[in-house]
Symmetry: C2
Subunit: 338 residues, 2 copies
């Protein structure tokens, strides 16, 4: 990775969704590497952007509050950026089913807009897109590699898949270098934990920390893979620094397959608080559930040398310590429990 | 098929894109079967809608000029319709690369809008969506069945794939019964032949008829399958009348794999006019070309008993006779040659 890391010194980069969970962690790494970092974030309440996420970095990077849906603004902002980490998105499955049009606007239209901005105003930019394992839907076999069908079970998955494919077409047809990382369940410091509509892992961490009951659907035997946000940041850095992955959509998976039961037990042990209860599947959740899932990241590993390095136990312990120290920055008095 | 055909007597049906190529041919069959037919079409110039397509049917069906992008209008129109054949779309690959946002609006946003209209105002409707083999992109192996990856090579293919997936998710999650037919290259009477941006087959037919030169890229060895619009109409009728295909996206392929060379020779022989010239691939076309392609429709055949029945020679002969009789209704004085 030494080459890839050297690559970023004085490099002009932009992160859309830069005040969010993954964006802000990636920004920390980029600042450490001496990059010229521009964060773009809409700071829409209920989404993941949080100014505290860049606490201590305020004077080492630049923040521009803007919405990726605003094409003229994006046309301007992309102009001098050499690498664009394109992480802005609507990430709630649940919200996408309640308001599919907003999900479409953010996850499809804005992605097209950003790519058009590059095509027209900065065709030499390299774009790395944050996709998701969710686009696979219910897998035919495990582990899941990139030869499996993309068959999303919800609107968010459909729109994220389209967003990914736009990047590949702009790479192949218009020469805007781009690639897509299909991220599995990501966890770590600076994730939104104010409400439970953006994935369960952050929410479980909060419940454990507050010594509350964690509800697991079914018997907890379903398997997922979890990847620490530092490993994900490393994946983005590598993808941004090499042209070998251009035009590709590649899995970035977790350390090891883990059942929900084992996840929660590990979490409660690490926290020293919280408790688990197994409850029947709610009808709505069952309808878009995908069964067990874990990723095969072999292709991305071979292309870039990347590996997941943070074990679940280690990662959870570090994450819990972060939220313990900064609980008030991530949890409002008025909770949004839906 | 007798059961499926009986199904439509007095049945309230709607066809979006109903004045277009496939929509108007389907409308003829539905009128013959005694259905209560509502055609919705935007009649946007340069798209496929043509009032002459329903010549002679004016008093046996109802036409409502409307754009599927207008959600409030669609909310109203879907209300009493039992089967909705959802054929409205932007179908030009080329236009989608020039103006991706319009393609997104029509092929993604409007599809979501129509499905939301059904969910909110007519949840018992059955929706049959016109998808396309184009969403597969360049296939890994031939013939192409539904286990192959969806990997579009252009914006239109991406948006059509998303439109298809919305239908499946609304079926699976919201109970709006829906299915999708992945149509291969369709030809026959009432296809747009005014310009060459909506597929090559109609354009080749026109060139042959006008005794002009037909340019084939490369050596003409690339293979496609072609399906006559009457066979496609039959596929829609069957899909609309059965619940066995709900939640599925199924291939509707052609009679037999045919090289471009053989297609053009058959066409010129049937027309008694026209000539062929083989030319090098233009760079832009090469970038989004998919190589040879032909469909395996076994799954749809097994589910519905459908079969492609019109041979290419027979279908071309009948199509040429139609355009010979009605040339002035399909070709303007001012041609749009791009």
């Amino acid at each position: 990775m030494s080459d890839a890391r050297d690559f970023y010194r004085h490099r002009k980069v932009m992160i859309t969704g830069g005040l969010g969970f993954i964006g802000s962690n990636l920004a920390r790494h980029l600042v450490d590497l001496g990059a010229d970092v521009l964060l773009v974030d809409s700071l829409i309440p209920d989404y993941g952007g949080n100014l505290f996420n860049i606490d201590g970095l305020e004077h080492t990077l630049r923040v521009n509050v803007a919405d990726v849906r605003q094409a003229t603004t994006m046309n301007y902002l992309v102009r001098d950026r050499e690498v664009i980490f394109n992480l802005a998105g609507q990430v709630s499955h649940i919200d996408s089913m309640r308001d599919p049009e907003t999900d479409l606007d953010i996850n499809c239209r804005s992605q097209l807009g950003l790519l058009e901005a590059c095509r027209r105003h900065n065709p030499d930019a390299k774009v790395v897109y944050a996709s998701t394992r969710q686009i696979y839907g219910r897998p035919d076999r495990l582990p899941v590699d990139e030869s499996q069908l993309v068959r999303p079970t919800d609107i968010n998955g459909i729109n994220k898949a389209a967003g990914e494919q736009y990047h590949l077409v702009y790479n192949n047809v218009f020469g805007v270098r781009a690639c897509s990382l299909r991220l599995t369940n990501v966890y770590g410091p600076r994730q939104l934990i104010r409400h439970n509509r953006q994935g369960f892992i952050g929410w479980f961490i909060r419940l454990a920390l507050e010594n509350r009951e964690i509800q697991v659907y079914g018997d907890g035997s379903q398997v997922r893979d979890f990847v620490h946000v530092d490993d994900v940041a490393d994946a983005f850095l590598r993808a941004g620094a090499t042209d070998t992955v251009n035009g590709l959509a590649l899995n970035v998976g977790g350390h090891e397959p883990t059942s929900h039961k084992d996840l929660v037990e590990t979490l409660i042990a690490a926290a020293g608080s919280g408790r688990v209860r197994y409850v029947p599947w709610p009808e709505e959740a069952k309808k878009i559930d995908i069964g067990s899932f874990f990723s095969d990241s072999t292709r991305f590993q071979k292309a870039t040398g990347w590996r997941s390095t943070v074990s679940l136990k280690e990662g959870l312990t570090q994450t819990l310590a972060f939220y313990r120290a900064h609980h008030d920055k991530y949890v409002d008095d008025e909770e949004s429990l839906t």
